[in-house]
Amino acid sequence: MTATAPAAPGPVARPARAPRSPWLPVALVLVVAATWWAADGIGFDVVELIASLGRANRIVSEAFPPNWGFVDQTIRPLIETFQMAVIATVIGCGIGLPVAMLASGISNPNRPLLWIDRSVLAVVRAVPDIMYALIFVSALSVGPLPGVLALILFNIGVIGKLLSETIDGIDPGPLEAATAAGGSRLLVNRWAVLPQVLPNYVAYALYSFELNIRASAVIGLVGAGGLGQLLQTQRRFFHYDNQLMIIVELFALVVVIEMISVWLRRRLV
């Protein structure tokens, strides 16, 4: 194709631009109104906020420098946090895999089962992790066990949501091939779905491991073991420098795990 058609004498009429939506200004006004209503409702006041920074300043100066001598008392809870996260990630992600497969229309064509699984998953995710910790602490006892149970439910929610959405987006071709070969649903999912989402699954598991380390600080506040429980006792006695030490350690742990998981993910994909 070397010869091109001769150019038309005048320019061809350009299509008219679609009219701007009249809803844009309405939406903007609504956002401003909602912000005003919310700020007014809770007494959010910027002047007040700046004034109270002075008080925060006192706490910060008491917290600095972190009490490095406190480290040896944190080692055991730190290890406990790590151990809780390991168990919760393994069990939670183990249960999360079939839960996620049941929650995607690609890997689960059974509508009633799909609906039940998705509903249960929605309820599991609707309850915050600290609420689970509260429930399990009062049902069982204070310590790492209720914390682990809370984290397991939390992980099922995370994996179920993220992985089922990943399954929704996979290539359905291999599923058709495995089905055509006479494979049962279970085996079709094992060989046509799992290999396609495996790198994502591992990435999500590492991510939820990281979330577990962080969550342990929060759920520990209600007595569910780990560093959070230590943080709570130090908070009660106003040892800000000890608290800062715990926060520094949590930060270091999360950063190290993040680095390891980035490295692992790069090798996997």
């Binding site: 290539d171 058709e176 089905t179 006479g182 049962s184 060989w191 495996l198």
Partner: protein
């Protein structure tokens, strides 16, 4: 023998893809189906292994109805029908061997397949299937690292690993270049002749259909408009199938020349 009696498929949207089609396909035949896209070729192929359920009429394979089969019976029927796809439908992330072993899912046992602990016989069957299409050396290569033609051969090996009585091929060469198309079609023809596997192929290009089919059927609007040999199909037959005269777009060699 595959037998369709007044087989109809109406999709939920109301599209009638098959209209009371009656057809007999004897064992060992190489049947080529031609027609425009939307003529019902893919529906016909998928009705044979029950991937698309009939909404009317009956379809039997060796006397067993695919329409009335239970889920378990359907799996058993499917295990003897290999299928080859236009886009290969391989799991690209996993090894060639794992893809071919998918053909053994029905017979390998649930626990064994679940753990990937296949019996040596199953692995050997998969290797022999790869040998037949000439790429056994690629068994442990990731499927995504193969060329299109090689990927389609993995698809054929996956079907062969089922030790099928029937092979269904849905536009198997539509994603391949002309020389590779001939290689794949020759593979299918050889398998049909040497193993006596009934082979049903949807094709877009008429020259391929005439060259490789023992028998050619033409479809248009869900109905059979031609049934005979490729050589006997004249200009009038093409008009019946395509609703117009034959053009360069309908033959692979002409496409290759462009």
């Amino acid at each position: 023998m595959i037998r369709l009696e007044r087989a109809s498929v109406t999709y939920p949207g109301g599209v009638q893809a098959l209209r009371e089609l009656t057809l007999e396909i004897p064992d060992g035949q190489m049947l080529v189906i031609v027609g425009l896209s939307g003529a019902g070729k893919s529906t016909l192929i998928r009705a044979i292994n029950g991937l698309v359920p009939l909404t009317g009429g009956d379809l039997t394979i060796d006397g067993r109805s695919v329409v009335r089969a239970s889920t378990r019976e359907l799996r058993e029927i499917r295990s003897k029908i290999g299928m080859i796809f236009q886009t290969f439908n391989l799991v690209r992330r996993t090894s060639v061997l794992n893809n071919v072993l998918m053909g053994r899912l029905h017979d390998a046992g649930t626990l064994r397949s679940l753990l990937g602990a296949y019996r040596a016989e199953d692995v050997e069957l998969a290797m022999r299937a790869l040998e037949r299409v000439g790429i056994v050396d690629k068994a442990y290569v990731r499927a995504s690292n193969l060329s299109g033609g090689q990927q389609q051969r993995v698809g054929i090996a996956r079907a062969l690993a089922q030790e099928p009585k029937i092979i269904l091929a849905d536009e198997p060469v539509a994603s391949l270049d002309p020389p590779t198309s001939h290689v794949v079609m020759r593979d299918l023809q050889r398998i049909n002749r040497e193993l006596g596997i009934t082979t049903i192929v949807n094709l877009h290009f008429l020259d391929l259909a005439r060259r490789y089919g023992d028998r050619m059927i033409g479809m248009r609007g869900g109905e059979l408009v031609y049934d005979g040999t490729g050589e006997a199909a004249d200009e009038q037959v093409f008009r019946d199938i395509y609703g117009r005269s034959l053009t360069a777009d309908d033959v692979l060699e002409a496409q290759a020349a462009v």
